[in-house]
C-alpha cells in the first residue's frame, strides 16, 4: 500500500504539471475495435463491450473524438482506412487511445487479432499506430494471447497494456469487463481527482481481474501487463521502483469534470495558485516521509491537508 501511495505521489507531481498545461492540451481520440467472436455469444459480448466503451469515452465531452469498429465493420481494410483518416487528422499535441476487444491468437511467431476476413498482426497494428502523430498514445489490447503483441507495440511515449502475460494465455479474457467498470466505478478514481488516468484504470482492472479468479477459486488464465517506458519489459505493478507508471498517471482516459483553473471566477485565481502550491508541498512531504519522525510527519501533513481543505472550500464558495 505504501508503494501505491508513493506512485500516486510521484504521479501527482506530473499531474499538477499536466493540469497546468491543460489549456494547451490537444484533442482526445479514442478508437475501439471489437473483433470476430466466432460464436454468437462472443460476437454479442464483444460488440456490447465496444458499445459501452464508446458511451464512456463520449462522456469526455463533445471535444472527444470517438470511433468504434465492431461486427462486420471491424475488417482489416476498414481499420486501415480509419487509420489513414486519423493519421491525417491527429496532431502531435493530441492524445490517442486504441482499445482492442476480441480473440487473439499466437502461433509462436506472430500475434494476430481475429477479424472478419483477414486477421491483423501486431506488427501491422504497430505500423498503423506509428503513422499517428500524437505524441502520447495508449494501446489497451484486451484480447486473448495479447501478451504476444507487447514487444511489437511498445514504443516511447506509448502506454501499452495487455490482458495476458504471453501468447500462451489463450482463454477468452475477463479483462475488458473490468476495464469498462474502471470507467464507470468511482472507486477507480483513487486520487479522487474527478478523472481516471490510464494508470488508475489499469490498477483497478488488474485488481478486479485477479479478485475474480481468486473469488471463483480458479487458476488465473490471464495476467495483465503494463509498460509505459517504451520497452517491452512490462510489469504487473507499475511503481516508481520499477520506473513504470509515470506517463500513464497523467494520461486521462476519463475526465468529465471541467478544468477548475478555467472555470473559477477570475478573483479566485490566487486561490488556485495557493492550492497548487499546497499540493506540491504535500507531495514533497510525502516523498520525505521515510526521513521524518512519524509524529512530526503526521503533524505537518495534517496542517497542510487542513489548509488545502480550507482553500478548496473557499474556491468552491
Amino acid at each position: 500500500m505504501a508503494a501505491a501511495q508513493t506512485v500516486g505521489c510521484s504521479l501527482r507531481l506530473l499531474t499538477v504539471l499536466f493540469l497546468a498545461a491543460l489549456a494547451a492540451r490537444g484533442a482526445d481520440y479514442f478508437v475501439t475495435i471489437a473483433g470476430l467472436g466466432g460464436l454468437p455469444e462472443y460476437d454479442k459480448q464483444f460488440s456490447d463491450w465496444a458499445a459501452q466503451l464508446d458511451r464512456q469515452f463520449r462522456e469526455n465531452g463533445p471535444a472527444a473524438h470517438v470511433m468504434t469498429l465492431s461486427g462486420s465493420a471491424a475488417t482489416k481494410r476498414e481499420i486501415q482506412r480509419a487509420f489513414e483518416q486519423l493519421a491525417a487528422e491527429i496532431q502531435t499535441g493530441d492524445s490517442f487511445s486504441l482499445l482492442l476487444i476480441g480473440h487473439g491468437t499466437f502461433d509462436g511467431t506472430d500475434y494476430k487479432m481475429n477479424l472478419p476476413g483477414p486477421d491483423i498482426t501486431a506488427a501491422e497494428l504497430a505500423a498503423l499506430l506509428n503513422r499517428i502523430r500524437a505524441e502520447r498514445q495508449l494501446v489497451v489490447n484486451m484480447t486473448s494471447c495479447s501478451g504476444a503483441s507487447l514487444s511489437a507495440l511498445a514504443r516511447k511515449n506509448r502506454i501499452v497494456i495487455v490482458a495476458t502475460k504471453s501468447g500462451n494465455e489463450k482463454n477468452a479474457t475477463v479483462f475488458p469487463r473490468y476495464w469498462i467498470d474502471a470507467l464507470r466505478d468511482p472507486a477507480a478514481d483513487t486520487d479522487k481527482s474527478g478523472s481516471v488516468s490510464a494508470l488508475e484504470a489499469f490498477e483497478y482492472t488488474e485488481h478486479k481481474t485477479a479478485a475474480y479468479f481468486e473469488s471463483q477459486k480458479l487458476l488465473a488464465t490471464e495476467h495483465p501487463l503494463f509498460t509505459d517506458t517504451g520497452t517491452a519489459d512490462a510489469v504487473r505493478d507499475p511503481k516508481p521502483e520499477n520506473g513504470q507508471g509515470l506517463l500513464a498517471g497523467s494520461f486521462l482516459v476519463l475526465h468529465p469534470e471541467a478544468d477548475e483553473s478555467k472555470t473559477v471566477a477570475p478573483g479566485k485565481q490566487k486561490l488556485i495558485a495557493r492550492k497548487e502550491d499546497l499540493e506540491a508541498k504535500i507531495d514533497r512531504l510525502k516523498y520525505e516521509k521515510a526521513a521524518i519522525p512519524p509524529d512530526e510527519y503526521k503533524q505537518q501533513l495534517t496542517a497542510l491537508l487542513l489548509e488545502l481543505a480550507r482553500t478548496q472550500a473557499e474556491i468552491d464558495q
Partner: protein, 728 residues
C-alpha cells in the same frame, strides 16, 4: 497403528505359504518378539540365491528400496506367481502406496483366483480408506481359505471400527480358534477392554506372553481411541506401544499427529522429525511436518474462554467476526449444557484447504468435512479456503463447538451418530437456515429407504456403502436429535449425554431417557420423518421434471409458461436452494416484469430456506436497499458475511447501511473489514471508516482516518469537508 497391524497379518499367512524354511524361522522369531535375533536371521538370508527370499529378507529388515528391487527380479523370474505378486503388493502397502499395492494384488488374483492372501491384501488396501469393500474382500479370502486367521482378525478390526464390539469379539475369537497366537485378534479384544475403561486386559497379558515386544497391540488400541475422538488416550496408548518397541515408526508418527491435534506442537514436531529422520515418510508425517512449519504464519488471539488461531494475512479481516461468534457459542453452550469447559477452546482456521486436510488425515468420513474437533481443539477451513457461498463459517463453528461440549461432557464416550446429530441440530437451533438441508441425495436415500436404524447409524459415517451415505447420515442424525427435542425436549438430550457419560449404550440411553425401546424409537422416528418429508419424496421426480421444463421454457423465451411450471411444483420441494433453484428462476421472472418487490420477496424466502449463492444474495441486498427495506437488507448482508466475508462490496454496503441505522460500531467493523481486504480504492475506504468513527463519537480516530484518506487523495472533497468538520 494400522500398518504394523497389517504387517503382522501378512506374517501369519505368508508363513503358511510354500517358502524357504529359513524365512519362516526369521518370521517366527519376529512373531515372538525376538527382534534382534529376527534381524540377524533376515540378514543371513540376504545372500540367498533366490531373489524372492532376498526380497522378503530385505522387507523383514525394513529396507524397502532393496526389497523392491529383489521383488522386481523375483517377479521377472516368476511372472505367473500369485505369491510373489501378493508379497510385493504387501511391500507397497507397508510403504504407504496403496494404489500400487492394489495393482499387484489384482494381478495376484488374476494369476490365481483361489489365492486367499491376495484377496486379504486387497481387503487391507480398502481398509486403509475405510472403504466398505474391505469387509467383502476379507470374506472372499475366507471363502478360499477358511483357516486364514488374519482375515478374521481384519474383520474383527473392521467391526470394531463400526463400534460393533459384539461382531468384533466374535470375529476375533474365530481367529483365535484357528491360531491361538493370533496377536491382532487379541489386540482387538484388548482394545474392547480398553475402550470400556478396563486398562488391565487379560488379552494384553496373553499377547505379551507370545510377544513381549508387541507394541502393535497398544497401537491398535490407540487407533480405536483415535477414531472415537479420545485423543488423550490415543496418545497414551501410542506411548505404551513405543515403550515396548521404539522402532514402531507408524505409532510414533501417529503420536506426533495426535499431539499436534491437541495443540502440543513442540513435542509433535519432535516425534514427527524422528520419523522423518528414520525415513518413515508417509503422507501424514510429511504433511504434518509441513503444516507445523507454516504455523509461524499464524497468530493466536486469546480471551478467557477462547483461543483463536488465524493466519496473519487474514487475521485483521476475520478476527472481528469469528471471535465474538466463538464467545457467543461458548456462552450459549455453557447455558444449554449446564457446564464449563476445563480450559479455553482453541479454534484453528486454515486459509489453505490442504493444511486443514492434514488435520483430518487418517480419520474416517473425511469427504466434505468443513471442521474437525479434537477435544478442546477445533480445526476448520477458513472461508477463503472455499468458493464463495460454499459454506457458512459461523454455522460450522456452532457445529464444532457442540462437539467440544458433548465430547467433554461424555468423557469422549459418545457415539459418532449422536455427537454429529446433535451438532447438526444445534446449527438449526441457532438459525433455521443453518444446518443440513433436504438435498436430492437425501431424498434419494429416503426414497430407497436407505436410512439406518439408530443402533447402526455409526456405520454410515465410518464405512459408507454408497457415495452420499456420510452426508445422508449427518442429515439423519440431525433429524433424530430434532425429533428428540421436539417430542421430549432439550432435557432429554441432556439426559442422553449423561447416560453416555455413564458408559451406557445407545439402546440404554434411549430407553432411560425417552422411555421406549429402541425399536419403537426407530419406528416413531421413521414415521415422524416421513410426515416431514413424505410429500417432497413422493413428488420429487414431478418437481424435477417441472423445474427442467420451467428452465427450458425460460430459455425459449416463454416466460409465462416458465412461471406457471415453476409455480406448479414449488410447494413440493421448498428446501431446494441449490443451483437452478425455483426461487432464483421466479425472482428473475419478477425482475423481468419490473417487479422488484416481488423478486425481493421470493429471494428472501430463498435466503431463509438456506440459500447461499453469493451473487443471488448480493442481488437481494441491492433490491432491499433500493426498496428501502433496511432491516431485511441487514439480514441478507449478515448472511453474506457468514458465507463470503472476503467480499469488499458487501462490507462497504453493510457499513453504509449500519451507519444509516445508527449502528456506528457495526459500521466501524465493516469499514475495517474493507480496509483489511486491501481495496483498490484506499482513500474511499479510509474515508468510510472515518465517517463510522465520527458517528461513534471517536473523533481522534476519525481524524486519523480522514488524514489517511487525504494522504492518498489530497483533493478528495468529501474527505476535506469531513476534516474541516472534525477540526472545528
Amino acid at each position: 497403528m494400522r500398518s504394523r497391524f497389517l504387517l503382522s497379518l501378512l506374517l501369519a499367512f505368508s508363513a503358511a505359504g510354500a517358502r524357504a524354511g529359513a524365512l519362516d524361522t526369521c518370521r517366527e522369531l519376529q512373531h515372538h518378539g525376538k527382534l534382534a535375533a529376527a534381524q540377524t536371521c533376515f540378514a543371513g538370508l540376504l545372500t540367498s540365491p533366490d531373489p524372492f527370499v532376498r526380497a522378503e529378507a530385505y522387507f523383514g529388515l525394513g529396507r524397502f528400496d532393496e526389497a523392491n528391487e529383489e521383488f522386481r527380479t523375483a517377479y521377472r523370474n516368476q511372472p505367473k506367481s500369485a505369491i510373489v505378486k501378493a508379497e510385493w503388493g504387501q511391500l507397497y502397502l507397508e510403504h504407504h502406496q496403496p494404489g500400487d499395492a492394489a495393482t499387484l494384488f489384482e494381478e495376484a488374483i488374476e494369476a490365481d483366483q483361489n489365492y486367499a492372501p491376495a484377496y486379504l491384501g486387497m481387503a487391507r488396501v480398502f481398509a486403509v480408506s475405510y472403504d466398505k469393500r474391505a469387509k467383502d474382500l476379507a470374506y472372499e479370502a475366507l471363502k478360499r481359505d477358511p483357516k486364514l486367521a488374519a482375515a478374521d482378525e481384519l474383520l474383527a478390526y473392521l467391526a470394531l471400527e463400526d463400534n460393533d464390539s459384539t461382531a468384533a469379539t466374535e470375529e476375533a475369537r474365530k481367529a483365535l480358534a484357528t491360531s491361538n497366537e493370533a496377536l491382532d485378534g487379541m489386540a482387538v479384544l484388548a482394545s474392547i477392554d480398553w475402550l470400556n475403561e478396563k486398562p488391565q486386559s487379560e488379552w494384553m497379558d496373553r499377547i505379551l506372553k507370545v510377544n513381549p515386544a508387541y507394541g502393535e497391540a497398544y497401537a491398535t488400541g490407540a487407533h480405536f481411541f483415535e477414531i472415537n475422538r479420545r485423543y488423550q488416550q490415543a496418545i497414551s496408548y501410542y506411548r505404551k506401544a513405543l515403550e515396548l518397541n521404539d522402532h514402531l515408526w507408524s505409532a510414533r508418527s501417529q503420536l506426533g499427529v495426535n499431539l499436534m491435534r491437541l495443540g502440543l506442537d513442540t513435542e509433535a514436531k519432535q516425534q514427527l522429525e524422528l520419523c522423518y529422520a528414520a525415513h518413515f515418510r508417509d503422507a501424514e508425517t510429511v504433511n504434518s511436518l509441513r503444516l507445523l512449519d507454516t504455523l509461524k504464519d499464524y497468530e493466536t488471539f486469546k480471551t478467557g474462554t477462547t483461543e483463536l488461531v488465524l493466519n496473519r494475512k487474514e487475521a485483521a479481516l476475520l478476527r472481528p467476526y469469528i471471535e465474538p461468534e466463538l464467545q457467543r457459542d461458548v456462552a450459549v453452550y455453557e447455558r444449554k449444557y449446564k457446564m464449563k469447559l476445563p480450559g479455553p477452546v482453541r479454534l484453528e482456521v486454515f486459509p489453505n484447504h490442504q493444511d486443514f486436510v492434514v488435520r483430518t488425515l487418517g480419520l474416517p468420513g473425511q469427504g466434505g468435512l468443513l471442521g474437525v474437533t479434537f477435544g478442546l481443539v477445533v480445526a476448520m477451513d477458513s472461508p477463503s479456503a472455499r468458493s464463495p457461498g460454499e459454506f457458512n463459517w459461523a454455522s460450522t463453528v456452532r457445529h464444532e463447538l457442540s462437539h467440544v461440549y458433548v465430547l467433554t461432557a461424555t468423557h469422549h464416550l459418545v457415539p459418532r451418530w449422536f455427537t454429529e446429530g446433535l451438532a447438526v441440530h444445534e446449527e438449526g437451533a441457532a438459525s433455521p437456515d443453518w444446518g443440513d438441508r433436504l438435498t436430492p441425495d437425501v431424498i434419494e436415500a429416503l426414497r430407497k429407504k436407505q436410512l439406518l436404524p439408530v443402533l447402526e447409524l455409526d456405520r454410515g459415517f465410518v464405512h459408507p456403502e454408497y457415495p452420499a451415505q456420510v452426508l445422508v447420515s449427518y442429515y439423519e442424525a440431525g433429524k433424530i436429535c430434532d425429533f428428540i427435542v421436539e417430542k421430549w425436549g432439550d432435557d432429554a438430550i441432556l439426559g442422553i449425554i449423561r447416560s453416555y457419560a455413564d458408559r451406557k449404550t445407545t439402546a440404554e440411553a434411549i430407553e432411560e431417557n425417552l422411555h421406549e425401546p429402541v425399536a419403537a424409537f426407530d419406528k416413531d422416528f421413521t414415521a415422524w420423518l416421513n410426515r416431514k418429508t413424505g410429500d417432497t419424496v413422493s413428488h420429487f421426480y414431478e418437481w424435477k421434471r417441472g423445474m427442467q421444463q420451467a428452465y427450458a421454457d425460460l430459455k425459449n423465451g416463454k416466460k409465462d409458461d416458465a412461471a406457471r411450471e415453476a409455480n406448479a411444483v414449488h410447494g413440493y420441494y421448498r428446501d431446494y436452494v441449490g443451483g437452478d433453484s425455483n426461487y432464483e428462476l421466479t425472482a428473475n421472472l419478477f425482475l423481468a416484469r419490473g417487479d422488484s418487490a416481488g423478486a425481493a420477496n421470493v429471494l428472501e424466502q430463498y435466503r431463509d430456506a438456506g440459500g447461499t449463492n453469493v451473487e443471488t444474495l448480493k442481488k437481494l441486498a441491492h433490491l432491499e436497499t433500493d426498496l428501502g427495506h433496511p432491516k431485511q437488507a441487514q439480514v441478507t448482508l449478515q448472511k453474506l458475511n457468514y458465507v463470503y466475508p472476503e467480499d469488499a462490496e458487501t462490507h462497504r454496503m453493510f457499513g453504509k447501511l449500519l451507519l444509516t441505522t445508527g449502528d456506528a460500531n457495526g459500521a466501524i467493523r465493516e469499514a475495517e473489514a474493507v480496509l483489511a481486504l486491501k481495496p483498490g480504492d484506499v482513500a474511499e475506504s479510509h474515508y468510510e471508516l472515518a465517517k463510522a468513527y465520527q458517528a461513534a463519537n471517536r473523533r481522534a480516530e476519525a481524524k486519523d482516518q480522514v488524514i489517511a484518506a487525504l494522504e492518498v487523495a489530497p483533493n478528495f472533497k468529501a474527505a476535506q469537508q469531513l476534516l474541516l468538520q472534525l477540526s472545528d
